[in-house]
């Protein structure tokens, strides 16, 4: 109204940077990954096991470390929420897609996932405990289904 550009508060600037960062992460990195399950594994891997803090060199370089951390935490929560409450049928499809992507031999992956349950660390921090339990439970069932269908395909 008075001809001056509207001033933006630091909080607004940070939330805009987080929005930009999220767009950047989705377009440059997550879009290249095959399916939501691969995205979840990738995002969980950007979190330090000891500190629980997220880090990403590219995002930190383009924005700041704290913006990168918020972007990764937000993306992690989004992908986890969409998978954790999705129907089991979809989760099985996503898991099969992840196994087919060739990150490990299917029999090895299935055996180690059933034995060690590494999927327990895929949940973001402070998420609803029942949703986290439901996710782990659904993965156990999905692994059993995928194992059965993989064995059946081996016998054919």
């Amino acid at each position: 109204m008075n001809g001056k550009p509207m001033e933006r508060r630091p909080n607004q600037l940070t939330s805009m940077a987080v929005e930009d960062g999220l767009r950047d992460l989705r377009n440059r990195t997550l879009a290249k990954l095959d399916g939501d399950f691969a995205r979840l594994v990738y995002l969980a891997s950007t979190r330090d096991y000891n500190t629980g803090r997220y880090a990403h060199d590219g995002l930190s370089f383009r924005f700041t470390e704290s913006v990168a951390e918020r972007v990764l935490a937000e993306a992690h929560r989004e992908v986890f929420a969409s998978l954790a409450l999705s129907p089991l049928k979809i989760l099985v499809t996503q898991l099969e897609q992840y196994i087919r992507s060739g990150c490990a031999r299917p029999d090895e992956l299935l055996a180690s996932w059933r034995e060690l349950e590494p999927f327990r660390i895929l949940a973001p921090e402070h998420d609803d405990p029942i949703t986290v339990k439901l996710f782990a439970s659904n993965i156990r069932v999905a692994l059993a289904i995928v194992k059965e269908s993989w064995r059946a395909n081996q016998l054919l």
């Binding site: 929420a81 409450l85 129907p87 029942i130 439901l134 659904n138």
Partner: protein, 183 residues
Amino acid sequence: MTGALTLLAIGFLLIASLVYLLRRRGLEEEDVPWLRDEDSGIPSAHSEDHRKGQLDRIFGCEDWDFIRKSTSSRVQQLFLKERKGIALSWLSRLRREARTGMRLHVARVRASEELDPLAELRLAIDYYAFQAKCGLIAAILLLGGPMALRNMVGQAESLSNNLRGMLEAALKPDAFSQRTRVR
């Protein structure tokens, strides 16, 4: 005569329960997700969607239909065992939240000089009815086997709504502060 005595005994029991609750010391802090919001304690639209999604997933038929049609009996048993565990965890959390809400309410009531015994009695009845309903559903789950889980989404939702209504009534800041102002 016998009927009047029974009613008197029930009334006495309820009053004794209320006195026990009021005298109970040590407010145990437990994790109550929808009490974290400092403003109202009422869940947001996002958490409401999340709650509905969670209920559908745990108690709905969609996943069971998929499992029943396309997997072996071994996987079906695993699925039912897993879902039963999740359902019991969900119920146990609901009971814990109600207990915490009630303790918060009792702590506030203790500091109040304008106690409304009738409203407190009504709340105590609601609370024990809620706990009994939770116990009943847990018993159905445990005794009726995993198959009892099917089509329980309605009961689960009504239970969750009961808890919300009870906690909203017990912990609503405006209504409560007007009625229970400490002088």
